[in-house]
């Protein structure tokens, strides 16, 4: 069936809090329970946390939305940010904007491309079922919460979290959202660079866990 493309974009940069301790990419516009907002990582966020606009300073914070759903209890590093009624979002990360027409899953070996703050990165899917820890995702007792994601052999930059991941040969199909990166020591051979890779969250899984629908 032919339908017009779904009108939503990726590539919005957001700040994590007003104190200036971080900023991220944002995956895509979406709706949840009838409200408009964005998909991004959850990292250390809690429900009802405020998210601020890029450029916000501690002395003049500009809130743009609130965390209204987290998927980390399902083992997924994803959150839904409901935009404030008076907030506006635009896409301005150079090179990061993509028109997303659909979402889908990946297989081991698929080529995928990350679009986020620091330019596109392309890699191959290594594993679909990586279970990992992020030091800053813990429960109320301070215990680490295990997360699950898809391992890929590109190395994301800091600031790429929340960026959207698409199939390289079909850049309109969303398959995931950037979460973390890691490196493996290989001291046995100093001339060989350490293995470096990243982990992203599966799009079908986090959309389902957040009860979110792509914006259309």
């Amino acid at each position: 069936m032919m339908r017009p493309p779904i009108l939503f974009f990726s590539g919005v940069e957001i700040k994590n809090n007003a104190a200036g301790t971080g900023s991220s990419s944002s995956c895509a516009a979406a709706t949840r329970l009838g409200a408009g907002g964005f998909l991004t990582h959850s990292h250390g966020r809690s429900l009802n946390d405020t998210v601020y606009a890029t450029g916000t300073t501690e002395s003049s914070p500009i809130p743009i939305g609130t965390v209204t759903a987290l998927a980390n209890s399902s083992g997924l590093d994803a959150a839904f940010i409901t935009l404030s009624d008076d907030a506006a979002a635009s896409n301005y990360i150079p090179g990061a904007n993509r028109l997303i027409a659909a979402y889908g899953s990946v297989e081991v070996g698929d080529n995928v491309t990350l679009y986020a703050k620091y330019g596109p990165k392309t890699g191959q899917v290594i594993a679909l079922d990586r279970v990992y820890y992020l030091d800053n995702i813990r429960d109320s007792n301070g215990q680490l919460i295990p997360l699950s994601g898809i391992s890929v052999n590109y190395y994301a930059d800091l600031g790429d979290s929340g960026g959207c991941i698409v199939l390289t040969n079909d850049t309109q199909t969303l398959v995931g959202m950037q979460s973390s990166r890691s490196s493996v020591d290989d001291d046995s051979d100093p001339d060989t660079p350490d293995l470096q890779f990243s982990t992203f969250v599966s799009a079908p899984l986090f959309l389902n866990a957040l009860n979110a629908t792509l914006f259309n």
Binding site: M1, S23, L144, S180
Partner: protein, 188 residues
């Protein structure tokens, strides 16, 4: 002349309708087109583009059962992994049913790999002091990969004695847990 007026009228009407439709549903969303986004208005939209593949995948898993060891894609297409212990007639029948897929024999079934992986996940959550940072099944190399923080001989020996000494394990050393890929900076 009359035709030109009609076209102008419809153009204005169409513009108005488009503007109204954009701002009525999501008045607080201001979505700006950038020069660098890609679009293809003729593309056919399928919400679950992998549905057909998923169906084939489920058929293959169901047919091979305990002999199924995973699948992956590469430049030659899709490779299906089956265990060496799989009945020969079953593998032959499978190859005849899926002639476009490459079939490769490996030692461990996917179920065996996942059992070991689940054991390690359980240890990872119940005993964080062991420093297990991550674990996954490496389908292509038919093994389970475990990353342990600051792995040394003592930690590896302890892991193999107390958690699993499976020959399918690859244990690697990492400096820390995964790094969240958001920027951290402080105001001066």
């Amino acid at each position: 002349m009359k035709r030109s007026h009609s076209l102008s009228f419809f153009s204005v009407l169409l513009s108005l309708l488009l503007t109204l439709s954009l701002f009525s549903g999501f008045s607080y969303f201001i979505i700006e087109k950038s020069d660098d986004y890609e679009t293809d208005s003729t593309k056919s939209i399928t919400i679950d583009p992998d549905f057909t593949n998923l169906s084939i995948y489920n058929d293959q898993v169901s047919y091979l059962g305990d002999s199924f060891a995973g699948r992956y894609v590469d430049e030659n297409g899709v490779t299906i992994l089956v265990t060496k212990s799989a009945p020969e007639e079953k593998v032959t029948s499978f190859k005849n049913s899926y002639p476009k897929f490459t079939v490769r024999e490996v030692t461990n079934s996917l179920q065996e790999l996942q059992t070991i992986k689940n054991l390690i996940v359980s240890e990872m959550t119940s005993n964080p002091s062991r420093g297990i940072a991550s674990v996954y099944t490496d389908i292509v190399h038919n093994k389970v990969v475990v990353d342990i923080i600051n792995l040394d001989f003592s930690k590896e020996t302890s892991f193999r004695q107390q958690v699993s000494n499976s020959p399918t394990l690859e244990i690697r050393s990492v400096d820390s847990y995964d790094e969240a890929t958001y920027t951290i900076f402080f105001w001066c």
